[in-house]
């Protein structure tokens, strides 16, 4: 916490908006002037990689440092955890390319085996990301109030519930679960003050949403939504990673190779946004292989994925009863919409160029912050969001057929009642299987929960009239109540969720988190500083080995002393001491680093034409800096 507190402490807790993304997450708030502002770290970076690294000493690291550790600790570093939210262990989605150790092959929830913790669930991993965002917000704002957390519009009930559970675990009060495309439209619409019918095409790291909505003087009415909660940039990476593993001759890749291939694929995908061809050298664990790919090759790889988004787009337009020609604009959201083939596909599908003045990474969090501000009561805008149920809700009837209770795209909040009866004399209990999805058979839909009704007064078969009420709240979450109509008795409903954690487990986790409390924050800072120390020590040793001749004797003494002091601090338990020693070492090596940079650039320029330099540095980090100097 800085000594200079910019915010007025009497202002009280500030509501926040959180975009909990597959790849990156971020937190935003609304300033006293009414503008949404994304919170950045001390380096001015707003995106927090949604990566959690677990260490043997029970500590953990979240964000950019965790991301760096993923290659060396692929099994203990959970990347893209959002894809596992609300899913069962045997779900095919959890078995796709990835380096993880799973604790069990069956059960209602995925469990990762990680260092120091034994097993963790996706809810706990997500809670760590949310906690990190909450900490950032507290550093910036002092006190944090309630939070609006965004979810893909196409998330089903189990995935929404899991997200809410994660927020509770992170100690956040959830004001609302807001659909990502709606959040984006809110931020865009309020900024441009434009009315009309818009489509939001949101292709993120792991999920795809398409939403058709009408903006009418501050009312944002969602007309339809569609998508695929298992489709995103990760799938592009996987397709490309398969090619990379093939090139490296890895038919049965180790976790480390898998992580390397996925990371390399992502880097190449990014490079292909600006270049027609990428030539690079794949190199991992002693295997080296040149690799060239053109944008056309890549476009062909991802074409099947884009076709899937096209089908969802057409269905959303149809459900909204809107033609592509009558649209006033197409808003692109999500990092994956930077891929040129995606933009071209969207332009073709909707017959118009998408709007270019939206930051696809920030707009969702901005919208969430605006909504949080409104719900917390300090609204300066006369704005209202009207959203819909993304997937039909139904119950399993005789023969395994789904009886639809609330169809998709029903405006929420909504409610429907259904009357059931007993089929045996003196029957006092009744079980209902609730499913979500568009398919005709229950086995093809997502099983949400089994609701058991008890305490029905004993009567002859067929006499009891059980009225079961299904309500969906503004978060898109389902609640079930039941009443016996002849007696008017309210029935007890026991819920057994098909996926995710039951209430008792969440309560236990909450208690544990509460007990751990403060010491967790200390532990986390220490873990982060240790990781940073290890990185700095390694880099310094390597630099000295390579370019030791560039150091004066006096400098060398200082560097060695700083190294020793840092190693001592690394063995200790104070993250503050560790941080200051890291700074000490960086200070001691500062001029040496400058000389190394000069040498590297001279080396690159010698005897090579500019094109060759471009090629060798294309994927290198710090490319811009190197150019500035030359």
């Amino acid at each position: 916490m800085s000594l200079l507190q910019i915010n007025d402490p009497s202002a009280g807790p500030r509501p926040i908006g959180i975009d909990l993304g597959t790849t990156n997450s971020l937190v935003a708030y609304v300033s006293s002037l009414g503008d949404p502002i994304a919170i950045s770290d001390c380096d001015g970076i707003v995106l927090v990689p949604s990566v959690v690294h677990y260490r043997g000493d029970r500590s953990l690291v979240v964000g950019p440092r965790a991301k760096e550790l993923a290659v060396d600790f692929p099994e203990d570093t959970i990347v893209s955890v959002k894809r596992f939210m609300g899913r069962g262990a045997e779900d095919p989605e959890t078995r796709r390319m990835g380096p993880y150790r799973f604790a069990s092959a069956t059960g209602p929830v995925v469990r990762f085996e990680v260092a120091g913790r034994g097993e963790v669930t996706p809810v706990e991993v997500s809670a760590e990301i949310l906690r990190e965002l909450k900490d950032r917000a507290e550093d910036e704002l002092g006190q944090v109030g309630g939070a609006v957390i965004t979810v893909p519009a196409y998330f089903d009930d189990a995935q929404r519930q899991a997200t809410k559970d994660a927020a509770r675990l992170a100690g956040l009060e959830v004001l609302r679960l807001l659909n990502e495309p709606t959040a984006a439209a809110l931020a865009y619409g309020l900024d441009k003050k434009q009315n009309g019918t818009f489509v939001v095409y949101d292709l993120g790291g792991g999920t795809f949403d398409v939403t058709v909505l009408v903006l009418d003087d501050g009312v944002f009415q969602v007309k339809s939504t569609g998508g695929d909660s298992q489709l995103g940039g990760d799938d592009m990476d996987r397709a490309l990673a398969s090619k990379i593993l093939e090139a490296l001759g890895q038919a049965a890749p180790s976790p480390s190779f898998t992580r390397y291939a996925l990371d390399a694929a992502r880097a190449i995908k990014h490079a292909l946004t600006d270049s027609e061809t990428v030539t690079t050298e794949l190199s991992h664990e002693g295997i080296t292989q040149p690799f060239t790919i053109t944008r056309a090759d890549f476009d062909a790889l991802i074409a099947p994925l884009l076709a899937r988004t096209g089908a969802a787009c057409r269905r959303a337009l149809k459900d909204a009863d809107v033609s592509a020609e009558s649209l006033d604009g197409v808003i692109l959201v999500g990092g994956s919409t930077r891929v040129p083939a995606v933009r071209a596909f969207v332009a073709k599908t909707f017959g118009r160029e998408p709007l270019g003045d939206v930051d696809p990474d920030l707009v969702v969090a901005m919208g969430a912050a605006l909504q949080a501000d409104m719900l917390a009561g300090s609204a300066k805008n006369d704005v209202l969001l009207l959203d819909v149920l993304p997937l039909s809700l139904g119950v399993e009837a005789m023969g395994g057929v789904v009886e639809r209770i609330l169809p998709r795209n029903t405006p929420i909040p909504c409610e429907a009642a259904q009357v059931f009866t007993t089929y045996a004399d003196q029957q006092t209990g009744f079980e209902l299987h609730v499913v979500q999805g568009e398919r005709e058979l229950a086995v093809d839909c997502r099983s949400l929960a089994r609701f058991t009704l008890r305490g029905i007064p004993p009567m002859a078969a067929g006499l009891a009239r059980l009225e079961v009420r299904f309500s969906v709240d503004a978060d898109g979450l389902l609640h079930v109540t039941a009443k016996e109509r002849t007696t008017g008795l309210e029935q007890k409903v026991e819920v057994k969720p098909s996926y995710g954690l039951d209430d008792a487990t969440i309560e236990r986790m909450l208690e544990e988190a509460y007990e751990a409390g403060e010491s967790d924050i200390e532990k986390r800072s220490l873990a982060e500083q240790r990781v940073e120390a290890e990185r700095v020590i390694l880099a310094t040793d390597k630099a000295l080995a390579e370019d030791g001749d560039l150091v004066t004797e006096d400098e060398r003494t200082k560097i060695d002393r700083a190294l020793t002091r840092l190693r001592e601090a690394h063995a200790g338990t104070s993250h503050r001491i560790l941080a200051s020693r890291i700074e000490e070492l960086e200070h001691a090596t500062h001029e040496f680093a400058g000389r190394r940079m000069d040498r590297a650039i001279r080396g690159a320029l010698r005897g090579k034409d500019l094109g060759a330099i471009e090629d060798t540095t294309k994927d290198a980090r710090g490319l811009e800096r190197a150019h500035d100097r030359s």
Partner: protein, 164 residues
């Protein structure tokens, strides 16, 4: 319980201006949605949403209008005219064949034909409601339901085809 027409404050007729209905729904949401007005109840918002949904759709609007006029539906509307049922059966058979043969062109031709039938029945329904001829209205509601199901199946086939 007020009728959906009363909740939305629109005239109880079949040929509603749907764009105006939608606008009205948004205006009323400013009063009924708990996010907009602290005093609003969840129930009011749920009722408004249900009423809007009922009036937006031809079939459910027709049912709501019959009910508002005190005409009992007597369960789900059915069209029992043998000639009509025979025609629908043949259409569905043709659709099934086209689906199996993966002949999307044929599917689309059938869809266009049925859409024509749908529009014709809807026109007849509008006239029946206008002249309060509720027996005829029920017949045409029954027809709309069959045509609707047929067109839903066309959607499914189209989606299958797109993803294949």
């Amino acid at each position: 319980m007020p009728s959906p027409f009363e909740i939305l404050g629109v005239e109880a007729r079949f040929d509603l201006d749907l764009a105006a209905l939608e606008k009205r729904y948004r205006e009323l949401s400013r009063e009924a949605h708990p996010d907009a007005k602290r005093s609003a109840t969840l129930g009011a918002s749920i009722d408004l949403n249900a009423a809007y949904r009922a009036l937006k759709d031809d079939l459910s609007r027709g049912r709501a209008l019959l009910e508002a006029r005190g005409v009992a539906m007597g369960g789900e509307e059915r069209e029992n005219d043998p000639g009509f049922l025979m025609e629908v059966m043949e259409l569905r058979e043709a659709l099934g064949d086209a689906r199996d043969a993966k002949d999307l062109g044929k599917v689309l031709v059938l869809a266009t034909r049925v859409r024509g039938f749908y529009d014709a029945s809807k026109k007849a329904l509008t006239a029946a409601f206008a002249s309060s001829d509720h027996a005829i209205a029920k017949h045409h509601l029954g027809r709309l339901r069959y045509y609707r199901r047929f067109l839903d199946e066309v959607d499914v086939i189209q989606e299958e085809n797109e993803l294949a």
